[in-house]
Symmetry: C2
Subunit: 328 residues, 2 copies
């Protein structure tokens, strides 16, 4: 293991990523740390929201995968920024969804009420933009500003369509591309650009992230419908509780006979998770959604075809495949 | 009335400000306008939150008041940005406070529920940062990012001190400086800097805004305690409802005999607005708070002493004096 300019080289990719992710957590925590103990303590609770650090990992791998790609401090900062934006959405999502269990811990909401969750989410968003501004690369702020606009649009369109059992696949895709895939795509795109990638390669990485992101949301929707709370580690059936129509429901409604369609709509109305599961498996909504996720993963990997072979490329493909094997 | 490069000159200051504020509303609305009708419609409702456009007015006046100060497009963009940030805080404040009446209209919350208010506030924050990034002046993003961090800190510290009848004047001042005065000070400071002000003059404008901002919050607190809902145009007694100790209460508790102090604490606990009003007037909490506001306004105007005389300077002083005459 050799450290040059603070970056580890000549070691395996996994080791490198592990070290980099640790550094990103340091940047993340340092940004939020201030003079007020109570705020510091509250921010300490955010760690409970931290999952697999998917988005920072994608920033790093996308920085490495492009020809001549090396990691620099910009990757660390951008990775901390996208993770901070993501966590802000999780914290505000708890206000939205009144979820009581997330990542096997109590939510900020559950601990401190809606108002604290709103303010903590705002604090994260604000710090994300501030941290981004410290990069001294205005184009990053501009791109991320557009992405967070898009993300909020996705959430708003989803809210407008609550309890809309006529939601079509096209609108569902718009919602998912905006609220989930946009930030994942941006993580990949920015990671590559911070390594000096050509626009063509940045576009490939961006599309890789977008497609993988949609697949990720589809499997998330399936898990929320069919998963067991103990395994998934957060509340299941939340989409149904909140009247969010997800892809398996949309496809199931489309496939079903008029009679079964009526039953599905009735079960959505009465929030009957167990009954809905059964019917959607029967009419093939779940299976068809998973096939679509699988196709998207193939398309995502196809975007990387013209990039040189490397351990980073292998790992991006492995991560994409992993979306289909998710149990949580 | 003459227009040169889109800016009106050789006309009275009021006319110039009126035209500029109209332009700022255009920038504001254009930034939020997108391809989704439902989002556009929701953003149309934000106008109900628009008040006196104090912060944009301060950006403009601060741009004019410094030696050689002229307005440029940067002022319009920055003014729209600070107004958007302010409106985001109002929208999220409705989640926080469950207020039912604001500016004589129904709140976003009342219309669409907590979740819509959270997402709309996020949409405003995101668009504010994005619009700021389009300025091409990274230092503005950096300064505003710090200010919004500070603003959130103020709101969080206030939340931590809910129902704390031992809240001291120093902590109250920290909260008010952070949550209210910081953005007002930044509006003045940025306005001057966008006109190419020297750092010394920008500092004066920033301190003018900070001091006027604290005075503004104090009179706001007094109005919430002593005002009539019909005149104030929004719910009164909201601070008490939410267990927010404000300056008249803090000063009243300090001035009171032990016996009266017990009564005040009891009335705060039972949310007895009418009883509390009476006692605080008796022990002088309200009057003393207003004297402090008056002193702050004098100090604020003192900051402008070394700036050349101009209609803009006169108007800044008039606005500061107006804080003390507020009835709404």
């Amino acid at each position: 293991m050799t450290l040059i300019n603070g970056f580890q080289i000549n070691t395996s990719l996994i080791d490198q990523l592990t070290l980099e992710l640790e550094e990103i957590v340091v940047v993340f925590d340092h940004q939020l740390r201030g003079e007020h103990d109570a705020i510091n303590e509250l921010c300490g609770r955010i760690e409970e929201y931290r999952g697999k650090m998917l988005r920072p990992t994608l920033v790093l791998l996308s920085g490495l995968v492009v020809p001549g790609g090396c990691l620099n401090n910009g990757h660390r900062v951008a990775a901390a920024v996208v993770e901070m934006i993501h966590m802000a959405t999780l914290v505000h999502d708890d206000v939205l969804d009144e979820a009581e269990v997330r990542r096997r811990g109590r939510t900020i909401n559950g601990l401190h009420g809606n108002e604290m969750a709103v303010m903590l989410g705002d604090y994260l968003i604000s710090n994300a933009f501030h941290l981004c501004s410290t990069l001294g690369k205005p184009w990053v702020s501009l791109e991320l500003g557009l992405i967070t606009n898009t993300l909020c649009e996705g959430e708003l369109i989803q809210l407008f369509n609550r309890n809309n059992t006529k939601l079509d696949q096209e609108t569902y895709m718009t919602i998912v591309e905006k609220k989930t895939a946009s930030l994942i795509g941006a993580s990949c795109r920015l990671g590559s650009l911070l390594s000096g990638a050509e626009e063509m390669d940045a576009g490939r990485l961006g599309r890789f992230g977008m497609k993988a992101g949609v697949a990720f949301q589809i499997t998330d929707d399936v898990l929320d419908l069919t998963g067991e709370q103990d395994v998934v580690g957060k509340s299941v059936g939340r989409d149904l509780d909140k009247g969010k129509l997800t892809l398996p429901m949309i496809l199931g409604l489309r496939n079903a006979t008029p009679e079964t369609r009526e039953s599905i709509i009735r079960m959505i109305g009465s929030r009957d998770l167990v009954g809905l599961r059964g019917l959607l498996k029967e009419v093939g909504g779940v299976q068809e959604a998973l096939v679509m996720a699988s196709n998207l993963v193939s398309e995502a990997k196809g975007e990387l075809e013209y990039l040189p072979e490397s351990p980073a490329k292998d790992m991006l493909c492995t991560l994409a495949d992993g979306i289909l094997d998710r149990k949580f």
